[in-house]
Amino acid sequence: MNQAEAPPQTVLPPVDRAPLRRRRWRAIGVQMACIAVTLFMALPIVLIGLAAVSSRDALNEFPKSLIPNEFSTETLVAFFRATGTVPALGNSVLVGIYTVFLSLVVGAPAGYALARHAFRGKDTYQVFILFVRALPIVVLSVPLATMFLRIDVYDTVFAVTLVHTTLALPTTVLITASIFVSVPADLEEAARVFGCTRWQAARKIVVPLALPGLAASSIFTFVLSWNEILGATIVTLGHRTLPAQVLTALGEASTAYRFAGGFALIIPALVFIFVMRRYLVNMWGTTLR
């Protein structure tokens, strides 16, 4: 009786909440998994940070408490006062800057040529680049060291720069090529119609538009150079870069020196990735949607 009287809207079937519930559980699962991965990635960095700001006593204590009972800059100061650290830091920065400069000067024109010209031998050139990319640096560093000794540039910032430039060059060519492809050729042609020479069009139109990409690629090159160890260790003796210096000091170093050194090597990474995070995915060929 009741059913017959009721208006038709009220006899809708009961709402099935199961899919909604399932969705919520899945979202919670995703959140938990994300947090787990983040902990795995971040916790070690936090720990070495803590180790680097612990006093020597706190480091020697066992079992160590997670948060050191006394903070001190003593470990870091000792690391930076150790022989060779500051000059090595300077070398690292210089090598990085020179490498960025040299690889852009040599690599960007090649990238431009790949992006704008169709020519015979293009495929061969690209295969050549990929082959160079796949060569392990270790194969080259030993003969390079011999060559540098002969032409008397062994153990110089210049020598390390050359090694790092060759290492970075294939990547620079490929990345700059993809950057130049994304600068519309129409704009360049328009500039030439309005009377710019080829060179002016490149300088006034292409370079400004490609600049953000080029900057990202430069930071990438700098990081590569900053992190490279083996080549830098083999072609230098006295003028080491920071990682090479830390590596060679490992044998006789104290625990405090190791942790402070590890942390000092990481700090730039935190900054680089923060600046670069928007470009990271772009550089592998797509844009973040």
Partner: protein, 281 residues
């Protein structure tokens, strides 16, 4: 017209010259050096190398490391990329932290994990304060090959998964969302969509990631160096050892040629096996 034809080569020339002098020439020199003795051609360097007990351990460790680390990284990176695709909260923050190891050098990564696996490190401290162990485990003791391998594997996974992750994320974003939605409309569940839609379309990215990661893992050395010294030898570490500490560039060249041979072999192997089913599909 003439300038049009010649200009690409003018632009390419500096890079070709630089790569040939700094890659081609040393490559030839390296090969020559490995086979050169006091009086011409010799295999003495290789004999010396293979009489050294470290080289076989190094070869085995390097291969074992690749076989364990690369698949873990691939699975983990795909999982992480799918998590990002599910658009969690604070995605930006997570993404930043997940990419962080990308810029951290091998050496620094080794030192980071040293602070954890050290005898008086954080892991042992945790074990002792939880009462699980009396005075901790000698994770990096030279007789504990298993735990040494474990430590190096964890450090490598931590350091280099980010690279695979970034490549896979770029690949996932190139897949049109329609494909996934279409599969969903036709009732495919999560695993079916992953197996038949996402993974096949990720093929090229996975190939790049595999080649890059295997070749880079072959060159791994500073992680092990920082964690264990020479107790856990790796091929590239042996080159460093022969060149810097034993002062023998010829044998060092020989080791590096082994690395080169394996790198090229893996690259060719992946290009053949991963791409062909992709095209035959």
């Amino acid at each position: 017209m003439i300038s049009r034809l010649r200009s690409p080569w003018i632009l390419l020339l500096p890079s070709i010259v630089l790569m040939l002098t700094l890659f081609g020439w040393p490559l030839i020199q390296g090969v020559l050096e490995a086979f050169r003795g006091d009086d011409g051609f010799t295999l003495a360097n290789w004999e010396r190398l293979f009489n050294d007990p470290y080289i076989f351990t190094a070869l085995r460790n390097t291969l074992v490391l690749i076989v364990i680390v690369v698949p873990i990284q691939l699975v983990l990176a795909i999982g992480m990329a799918l998590l990002m695709q599910a658009r969690p909260r604070f995605a930006g923050g997570h993404f930043y932290l997940w990419c962080l190891p990308l810029a951290i050098s091998e050496l620094a990564a080794g030192l980071v994990w040293l602070s954890i696996f050290d005898n008086r490190g954080y892991l042992n401290s945790l074990l002792v304060s939880l009462g699980l162990s009396d005075d901790g485990v000698q994770w990096l003791g030279y007789q504990n090959t298993g735990t040494m391998l474990l430590a190096v594997v964890i450090a490598e996974v931590w350091r280099a998964t980010s690279l695979v992750f970034v490549i896979v994320v770029a690949g996932v974003q190139m897949i049109p969302r329609d494909f996934d939605e279409a599969a969903q409309v036709f009732g495919a569940n999560f695993w079916q969509r992953l197996r038949h839609v996402t993974l096949p379309l990720l093929g090229p990215s996975l190939q790049v990631a595999l080649i890059l990661r295997t070749i880079l893992a072959l060159q791994a050395f500073a992680v092990a160096q920082a964690l264990t010294g020479r107790d856990f030898p790796l091929l590239v570490g042996e080159t460093y050892e022969w060149y810097s500490n034993l002062q023998n560039p010829a044998v060092a060249s020989a080791v590096s040629l082994i690395v080169l041979a394996i790198s090229l072999a893996t690259a060719v192997f992946y290009l053949r096996t991963v791409r062909q089913p992709e095209e035959a599909r």
